[in-house]
Each structure stands twice: as C-alpha cells, then as structure tokens.
C-alpha cells in the first residue's frame, strides 16, 4: 500500500512538460512498432479470409471464410513439402548445432588454453548474413568448381539436386547457428553459481555428471530461450533458400511460399495471407513461452 502510494505520488509530481516528454518518448516508438509490426500482423490474419488478386481496392475482395486454408491443406502442392522441410530444418538444428553448441560451451567455459581463440572461430560465421553464407558455401557445393566434388570426384549439384539440396543448405545454416547457441550457453554458464559445482564435486559427481545433473537444470531459462530461438529461426529461415533458387525444387519453406505468392506477377493476397497466418500462429505460441521465461526472470 505504502509503495503504491509512493508511486502515485511520484506520478502526480510530473509537470506538464514532463508529461509531454514521457508521452513522446513512449509514443513515437510504440506507434512505429504498432504500425509496422502489429497492425500488419492483424491485417495478415484478416486478409487470410478473403480472395483478392491485389488489384483494385481491398473493398473488391471476396470474403471466402476458411477457403484459403482449405486450399492450402488440400490442393496446394508445395505446402506439405514445405511443412516437412521446415520440420526437418528444426529437428536438424536441434540435433546438430544445438547439441554441438552446448557441448562446445561446456568445454570452452573451462579455463582452457586458447579458449578465446576457439570461441572466435566458432562465433565467426554468426556475423555473416545467411545470404552471404549461401554464396560462400557455393565454393564448397558448386557442381564443377566446388571443393566437395573436387575432393570426391562426384558430380552432384548440391544446390540444384532436390535430393541433396535441403541437407546441403541445413549444413550451411547450422554452421552459423552453432556459434550462436554456444554463445548463449557460455553466457548462461557464467551465471551458474560456482558453489553448486563445488557441492556436486564434494558429493562425488564427475564432471559430466555434474553438468547434466546440476549445471544443465539450473540453466533452465537459457534452455527455454534456446528452444524458442531455434524454433523461430527455423520457421523464419528464408535468405539461404531464396538466394539459391527462390525456395523451389526441393527447397520449399513456408516463408518462401508466402513470398512467392505475393511478389511477382500473380499475387494471391488472401492465399498468401493464410500461409502467413499459419506462420504467425506457430510463432505466437513460442513467443508467449519466451516472454513468460524472460519476464519471470525479470521479476525475481
């Protein structure tokens, strides 16, 4: 009660000028984010229920209810491959870069000679854009000038052949993701109370056991954040497949399908919006998990 009274008192002390300053400081950024992020998100949902070729005004659009969703699920050929690819992407990021990133963080967290140098090596890809990574890995994957075929003597077109290109692209994107995960865990490990480790050691735990039984569970917030980031990153994956072949021929992803439906000749606004809404719904679930994690940490 006392605290609330104090706060209220402070608020009342705001002069008119301060009131204006506070309003502007909050208002301008909020308006920008609402106008360019939240309003578009809601509009995407609304547009997903109409059929509209994008010409003329929105008023000309026909309300078709759930028809777009039905079409996506039933008769849009690239949809299920895209869902499958997104899921493969997600699982691969977990099994590869995430596990490796955790392992690297656990090893490099200890005072090991050259630790910083190793960290730099693993971080390095993190500062490159995914579009550029597609470009760099072309030097490895290219059919006739690539390192991979040069070493093995095969003639696979790693980016072009739908049997291999998804795997090839995931390796390249995992190359970048590993350093990111390692970094998050390194930060998390620094926050673990050393006394916990000491206690575990006194209780006779080995290093590996200590990590899994004591350290890993304590890092629960980091684990959740990494989970959410990985899900969202694999859902948003776009740049790499778009530079390679605009997300076709084995590289279909939901993000690329949305873009294909909007950019270019035939724009199917309602249909594309339904695909966009599917992305929004999936990401919202994980964003809520994320917010609950970081905000709860906030209050403690």
């Amino acid at each position: 009660m006392l605290l609330r009274g104090g706060r209220r008192g402070r608020r009342r002390r705001l002069t008119d000028r301060d009131r204006v300053v506070v309003s502007v400081m909050v208002g301008v950024p909020t308006l920008l984010v609402i106008a360019l992020v939240w309003v578009p998100a809601l509009l995407s949902v609304a547009l997903s229920f109409v059929r509209w070729n994008g010409l003329g005004s929105v008023g000309d659009a026909d309300w078709v209810g759930l028809q777009n969703y039905r079409d996506i699920v039933e008769i849009y050929p690239p949809f299920w491959p895209a869902v499958r690819h997104n899921l493969i992407w997600l699982v691969a990021l977990f099994l590869g870069p995430t596990v490796l990133g955790i392992a690297l963080a656990a090893v490099l967290d200890r005072e090991l000679r050259g630790s910083r140098l190793y960290q730099t090596a693993f971080f390095l890809p993190t500062v490159l854009s995914l579009a550029l990574i597609g470009f760099v890995w072309q030097l490895v994957y290219s059919a006739d000038q690539g390192l991979l075929n040069g070493l093995t003597g095969s003639s696979i077109d790693w980016y072009g052949d739908p049997e291999y290109n998804l795997g090839a692209v995931i390796v390249a994107s995992g190359w970048r993701h590993t350093g990111y995960i390692m970094l998050l865990y390194l930060a998390g490990l620094k926050g673990v109370d050393p006394a916990l480790r000491e206690a575990a050691k006194l209780d006779g735990c080995g290093e590996v056991q200590t990590f899994f039984r004591v350290v890993f569970p304590v890092m629960r917030p980091v684990n959740i954040i990494v989970l959410v980031i990985t899900v969202i990153e694999s859902l948003r994956a776009f740049d790499l497949v778009w530079v390679i072949n605009k997300g076709r021929n084995g590289l279909e992803l939901i993000s690329a399908l949305v873009t294909q439906n909007i950019v270019g000749e035939a724009s199917r606004v309602g249909f594309g919006s339904a695909l966009a809404t599917i992305m929004l719904v999936v990401s919202t679930v994980f964003i809520v998990v994320y917010l609950r994690t970081v905000m709860r940490e906030d209050n403690s």
Partner: protein, 282 residues
C-alpha cells in the same frame, strides 16, 4: 591432464579449424586466378593473383551497393537504439500499469516472422505518398526511408528489451536525487541514464550494425529497383554476373563480409556482450 581430457581438447581444436575452413577456403581462392584453377582443379596450390578483387569490385558494382547499405544501416541503427533507449528509460524508471505489456509488445515484435507481415507492409508502403526528394518512386515502397523504417521497427524491440533490463539495475536513488534537484524527465534521461548505459549502447550498436547490414528479406521484397538494393540483397543479382567463376564469387564474398568481419574482430567483446545481454542478461 588425463588422456580423455586431452582428446577432448584435440577434438575442439580440430573442430575450430573445420569451422574456419569455409572462410579460409574463400579467402584462399579469392587470390587465385581462374585460368589456374580451371586447369589444375580447385584442389591445388598456386595461381596467385589480386585481380579477382579488382574484377569483383568492378563487375559487382560494390562501391554503389556498399553505399546503399550505408544509407540504410546508419540511420536504422541510430533510430532503433535511440527510440529503444527512450522506451526503455520510461519502462525502467516509471511504474505504469502497462509497463509489462509495453515491454512485451516490443520484445515480441522482434520475434515475429517478417514474412508473415509482408503483404500488409507492402500494401501500406505502396499507399503512403512520399515527396519525390525523399523517394523517387513517390511512395515508401522502393525507398531507402521505407527500408529504414521497417528495420527500425523490428530492431527497436530487441534494443528495448536489453536496455530496459540494464536501466533497471541503475540505482534509483540517483534519479530521485536528480529529480529533487529539479531535473526534468528529459534531463534525467539524456544526462544521467544514457551516459551510464555506455556499455550496453556500444554492444547494441555493434550487434545492430551487423544485423541491419545483413538484412536480406525486407530489402529484397520492398526494393523493386535492384540498383537500390543494399549489398546483402544484391548478392542475388550478382550470382548471374559471377556464375561461371568461383574465384570471383570468393573475392566478392570476402568483400561483402569485410565490414561485419572487421566490426566483429575489433569489437568482439561488445558483440558478445550484446548477444548475451539480450538473451540471458548475463
């Protein structure tokens, strides 16, 4: 050191080398002539030259695209951090009922998939008229300003989250003292809070420079005139120009990567701090 530990260290060293390898490979081949590699294959040694860089620079029109990146990156970085600092200050220093909701609104915005917002943003940008001295297209679509706005809107969320967490750790007594001395809200923000936030501001600046410089999606879909692409998006066009010559691809990659590599290697500490502050508040 026991044998098992030594094995782990050796493994890490080998992995680190493997991790650097694509970059080293690009660097290596960027200095080799196409004629040599065509004759001896890429798994060979020799044919050193600097010509690829000159050719790539020329053919890729990099001076132009790097400038485009500069036009977008610098204002967007300043705007997103500046706006975020304002919101973060109010969230951290005043207790309004909607504080948590506000922070959530900003933080979540940064995590939404941009593709899911594409259609409305595209339509809105096409509808907003702009004077021709700002945008030659007459609307926000296909203009640097549009790209700056959209990047700012997205990145403000992340910066707000980091800065508000940091500002909450600043001692409240200091601000109360300033208030008693008659310092208004703006003075407390500008003269007190911002100077104390030098560390997170530097970290965010580094991080945002690499992120906005690397941004690909919005530039690709909102800029219809490919001569206005920032360098990251222009890579797609360049593929055609370089298609038959991987040594040129290598040199181009090195050129495009250079700004972020320099930022990273020189300001590594800030970069790492930024990423970790944002995720776990380390």
């Amino acid at each position: 050191m026991n044998a098992r530990l030594r094995a782990v260290y050796a493994l890490v060293a080998v992995l680190a080398l493997a991790w650097l390898f694509p970059v080293i490979w690009a660097l290596l081949n960027s200095f080799r002539s196409y004629a040599y590699t065509a004759q001896h294959g890429y798994v060979s040694f020799g044919g050193w030259t600097l010509k690829n860089y000159a050719d790539a620079w020329e053919r890729g029109n990099f001076a132009h695209y790097l400038l485009n990146s500069l036009y977008v990156t610098v204002p967007a970085v300043i705007a997103s951090i500046g706006l975020a600092a304002c919101v973060a200050f109010v969230i951290a220093r005043f207790s309004f009922r909607f504080n948590v909701a506000l922070l959530g609104l900003f933080t979540a915005a940064n995590l939404l998939p941009p593709q899911a917002l594409l259609i409305p943003v595209y339509r809105i940008f096409r509808q907003v008229p702009m004077p021709f001295w700002i945008s030659s297209s007459g609307s926000l679509l296909n203009s640097f300003l549009g790209l700056i706005l959209v990047n700012t809107a997205f990145q403000t969320g992340f910066c707000t989250f980091v800065l508000s967490n940091y500002m909450k750790t600043l001692p409240a007594e200091m601000f109360e003292a300033a208030e008693v001395d008659g310092a208004g809200v703006w003075t407390r923000f500008w003269r007190l809070a911002l100077p104390l936030c030098r560390a997170p501001l530097a970290a965010l600046a580094v991080l945002e420079v690499t992120w906005i410089y690397n941004e690909f999606f919005w530039a690709t879909v909102l800029m219809q005139d490919s001569s206005k692409f920032p360098i990251t998006s222009s890579l797609n066009n360049l593929r055609g120009a370089f298609f038959t010559d991987n040594n040129l691809v290598a040199a181009a990659s090195v050129i495009v990567a250079m700004p972020t590599l320099i930022v990273f290697l020189v300001l590594q500490r800030q970069f790492v701090a930024g990423l970790t502050m944002g995720s776990t508040k380390g």
